[in-house]
């Protein structure tokens, strides 16, 4: 299905080639024709529109927006009158009951002079939908007083200017609606250049990744999903200094992209957007961005930077405290880690987060030799999540350190029940049993551990001791 069709008409391409694509158009679709010389190309473009008309008459539930993009020329009035005659039957078709006509022409004039073009623009507005204009940036404020649909010549190729700016509009709308799916603003698109080459999206067109050719009836969709992140980033960056998007919109957009990539654990991509968000947001909004920069850096293992950003953010929710504690833990600054993780836990995080925070805190206690505190915390945890093996393992280690081998062995046994392939828990259980004087059982578990993981040196050592005794 094609929702947007961008065409660069070339009279050497037989029109039937295009009409063969019409059944693949979405029931409500948009077609853009980029016409360099309107007068010389007129009969070809007009025939194209007639084919479209025939198609719409055959399928009276389809609707097409036909955008005619071409240089301004005030002498085009008679040509447009012919278009008006062509679409009239559709305007009358549903009488006044149909909310919109089905073949709608949107003229887009490139570089119209102001104010000389006003009369022609008025004529077009009267006959069709209000025309759009493609202009250079210096004319933007003048044009924006009178015209609603304005495109900037952001790229040399008008197709890219229009296409990317429409994409930006979709992104901004998704941002305003707080639509979670901001990473996928593209509708199903087909671009055909003057040689008949197919491109499956704007980025493919810009990078000349051809998917086939209309003249050869060949189409092979190239997967270019990997270009998507770069495409969106470049799109926003290219338009960042234009009047099309304000600084606060830029900062919001980048922040939303950052959040989406962070959610997908694409941390490097998230970082690039968060840095941009920082660049465009006012200082009083930097806190949120710093927070996520901190989270990203912690995810990348750059703990010192993570700590810096989290402190700069100065937003102390449980997540921030957790990442701060986690980063300190990784830096082996256990006292600071303990402080941050205890604060995270005191802020009542939801259960799934509470578990990982508490596990890190218990591990921190273990590192600080505060086994008793760790055990108390783990006993609480085991009540709500008895199925988590790591809790039993850690509790076993703490009991072992406290020389309570009986409790420790029970913990490792539970860990084994939950993860029967866990070599380390067999080895730990073996050590407990050895300490309890249960030599045969201890041998069995050390051997079992080594059969699963022969690299467990401490199990090997314990086994040798058991054998020599």
């Amino acid at each position: 299905m094609i929702q947007k069709l961008y065409l660069k008409p070339n009279p050497e391409i037989p029109l039937e080639k295009f009409s063969s694509l019409f059944p693949q158009l979405s029931i409500f679709s948009e077609i853009y024709l980029f016409i360099e010389d309107f007068k010389s190309c007129f009969s070809y473009v007009f025939e194209f529109a007639k084919l479209l008309k025939n198609f719409l008459q055959k399928y009276p539930f389809c609707k097409v927006h036909l955008n005619l993009v071409h240089p301004f020329d005030a002498e085009l009035r008679p040509f447009y009158l012919m278009f008006s005659e062509l679409v009239n039957p559709f305007n009358l078709e549903g009488y006044t009951y149909q909310v919109t006509p089905r073949l709608i022409i949107f003229p887009v004039l490139c570089f119209p002079p102001f104010p000389e073009s006003a009369e022609f623009l008025g004529f077009l507005e009267q006959k069709f939908m209000p025309p759009g204009v493609l202009i250079r940036e210096e004319h933007y404020s003048l044009a924006s007083e009178k015209i609603e649909r304005i495109f900037l010549a952001s790229h040399k190729d008008h197709l890219l200017s229009l296409g990317y700016q429409e994409l930006l509009s979709v992104l901004l709308e998704k941002m305003r609606e707080q639509n979670e799916d901001i990473l996928n603003p593209c509708t199903s698109t087909l671009i055909i250049d003057e040689k008949g080459n197919f491109f499956s999206c704007l980025a493919a067109y810009q990078n000349h990744i051809v998917s086939g050719n209309l003249l050869k009836n060949a189409y092979e969709r190239q997967s270019i999903k990997e270009l998507c992140p770069q495409c969106k980033y470049q799109l926003i960056s290219t338009l960042e200094n234009t009047p099309l998007v304000s600084k606060s919109e830029l900062s919001n957009l980048h922040f939303r992209f950052g959040l989406s990539y962070f959610g997908l654990q694409k941390i490097e991509l998230a970082l690039s957007h968060f840095f941009k968000a920082l660049e465009f947001s006012p200082e009083e909004e930097h806190g949120d961005v710093y927070l996520y920069l901190g989270l990203c850096k912690a995810n990348l293992g750059e703990y010192a930077l993570a700590i810096d950003y989290l402190k700069k953010a100065n937003i102390w929710n449980y997540n921030a405290y957790f990442y701060l504690g986690f980063s300190y833990f990784q830096q082996r600054e256990y006292l600071k880690a303990q402080d941050a993780l205890e604060k995270a836990l005191s802020l009542n995080p939801p259960l799934e987060d509470k578990l990982s925070i508490a596990l890190y805190l218990a591990t921190t206690y273990r590192e600080l030799q505060r086994f008793e505190k760790a055990i108390i915390l783990l006993q609480e945890l085991v009540k709500v999540a008895p199925e988590v093996r790591e809790i039993h393992n850690l509790m076993g280690i703490c009991y072992f350190k406290e020389k309570d081998y009986q409790e420790a062995s029970e913990c490792f046994q539970k860990a084994i029940n939950l993860a029967p392939d866990s070599a380390i828990d067999y080895a730990n259980l073996g050590l407990c049993l050895k300490a309890l004087g249960k030599k045969e059982q201890a041998k069995f578990y050390c051997q079992k551990a080594l059969s699963l993981d022969p690299s467990l040196d401490f199990a090997q050592k314990a086994l040798e001791e058991l054998k020599s005794n």
Partner: protein, 426 residues
């Protein structure tokens, strides 16, 4: 036997086809294989894809949800489907059909049945007749052709207890991917008498309910599927206060992390209820304002007062619940200055004029008391030929408002609108 159900909504983003979902669920439980397709303002399908669906799914019956605003698209699609296979039977249902004059079938040769009663039972009766090899005999709840005659089938009632209908949500019939907001239904029907409205007539002034347990189960199911925004399509969500309290308490008790939009009357809310609504996650309440002229409210039998409305608005605002109001112009007996009063009322109460709060010209739909007796209410339809399948709609002026005045008020609403008058719900 396969039944294809189609929702065409050319002027709205994708939504959950709740009515067709109920019908599909009911047909599936009765042994029919169904498929629902939705066509939104995104187009969603190409001719090639539609052709493939018809050829591969091979339905013997296709049903459409039909409204005044989409009927030309529906008829176009019906013609297309008949063109692919003339043996496929086509049934129309929905608000446009319940009270459409049966002679309209003469102008819709591609249509086989007009569904007049509860969709689930009517479509089942049609599907069973087709499956039994006798497609135009003994059908209940529908109008159809028999040679040159139009036969009105025996009327058929739906279930009193809505829980008897299988849940399209719980049966997994919906794809929630393209929508932000999931449509739910906790009740059907309306017992009031507003003269411009079709609903009370179609539901015989009765209101029927789902149990709270069923609604909670559906919400939980949808939340598990990753969606937490709900749009309740009940015409009067708080018709029974005890039920509303119970539902909201259950949502709070289960800590369901949801956001809700709902519609109700200003005389069906109070402070305790709104406070609880806020706690349970209601972000917007839509009230039917219709007009800010007491005289007009009386004429249209709305049976609410402006003081009730003001109170309901201030309560919602107190608890920071967003408000939308449905308002109309071109109402019977309404003058331009009455209509201006409505606009002023909305503006002066801090209601954002956007989305549903954009006023619309009243529409005269088939079946509403006003349409049945429009002359007595001073409605003057334009002297023009109209196909029988279309009702007067907004093609009228009134004894108290000329076309020009209606245009004036429309332009004024647009001028103050934050989204240029784009209204999602019609």
């Amino acid at each position: 036997m396969h039944v294809l159900l189609i929702e065409v909504n050319p002027f709205s983003p994708p939504t959950i086809p709740i009515s067709l979902g109920y019908i599909a669920a009911f047909l599936e439980k009765n042994g029919f294989k169904t498929k629902i397709i939705c066509i939104s303002d995104q187009g969603d399908y190409s001719i090639k894809e539609l052709t493939d669906i018809i050829k591969t799914f091979n339905p013997q019956l296709v049903g459409f949800s039909t409204y005044q605003r989409n009927i030309l698209f529906v008829l176009g699609l019906a013609r297309f489907i008949k063109g692919l296979n003339k043996e496929i039977k086509i049934a129309l249902g929905g608000p446009q059909i319940t009270f459409m004059p049966k002679e309209a079938l003469r102008e819709m040769p591609m249509i086989d049945y007009l569904c007049r009663n509860e969709g689930e039972f009517t479509l089942l009766s049609i599907a069973q007749a087709i499956a039994g090899g006798n497609p135009f005999n003994g059908i209940k709840g529908a109008t159809y052709r028999q040679e040159d005659e139009f036969i009105d089938g025996e009327p058929i009632d739906g279930y009193e207890d809505l829980d008897e209908y299988p849940s399209p949500h719980l049966m997994g019939l919906f794809d929630y991917t393209p929508v932000e907001e999931v449509i739910m239904l906790a009740s059907r029907g309306c017992p009031y008498n507003c003269i411009f409205c079709y609903t009370p007539q179609a539901f015989k002034h009765k209101i029927r309910f789902h149990s709270i347990e069923r609604v909670i189960e559906e919400i939980k199911y949808v939340v598990k599927k990753g969606k937490n925004q709900f749009w309740f399509a009940d015409p009067n969500f708080s018709f029974r206060a005890d039920r509303v309290h119970q539902l909201l308490e259950e949502i709070i008790r289960h800590e369901l992390p949801i956001k809700m939009w709902l519609e109700t009357r200003v005389d069906l809310v109070n402070e305790e209820m709104i406070k609880k609504m806020k706690r349970a996650g209601v972000h917007t309440i839509a009230y039917g304002l219709e007009s800010a002229s007491e005289k007009v409210l009386k004429t249209i039998k709305k049976k609410t007062s402006l003081s009730q409305l003001e109170k309901a608005i201030s309560l919602a605002q107190k608890y920071e619940v967003e408000i939308e109001v449905f308002s109309l112009y071109g109402l019977p007996g309404e003058t331009l200055s009455d209509a201006l009063k409505t606009l002023e009322f909305v503006r002066s109460h801090g209601i954002k004029i956007q989305g549903n709060s954009n006023a619309q010209q009243m529409q005269l739909y088939f079946g509403s008391p006003l349409t049945q007796n429009y002359k007595a209410y001073g409605i003057k339809p334009f002297p023009e030929k109209r196909p029988l399948y279309l009702s007067i709609g907004d093609r009228y002026e009134t004894e108290t408002m000329s076309v020009k005045e209606i245009e004036t008020i429309r332009a004024l609403w647009r001028r103050y609108s934050l989204d240029k008058g784009k209204r999602v719900v019609s």
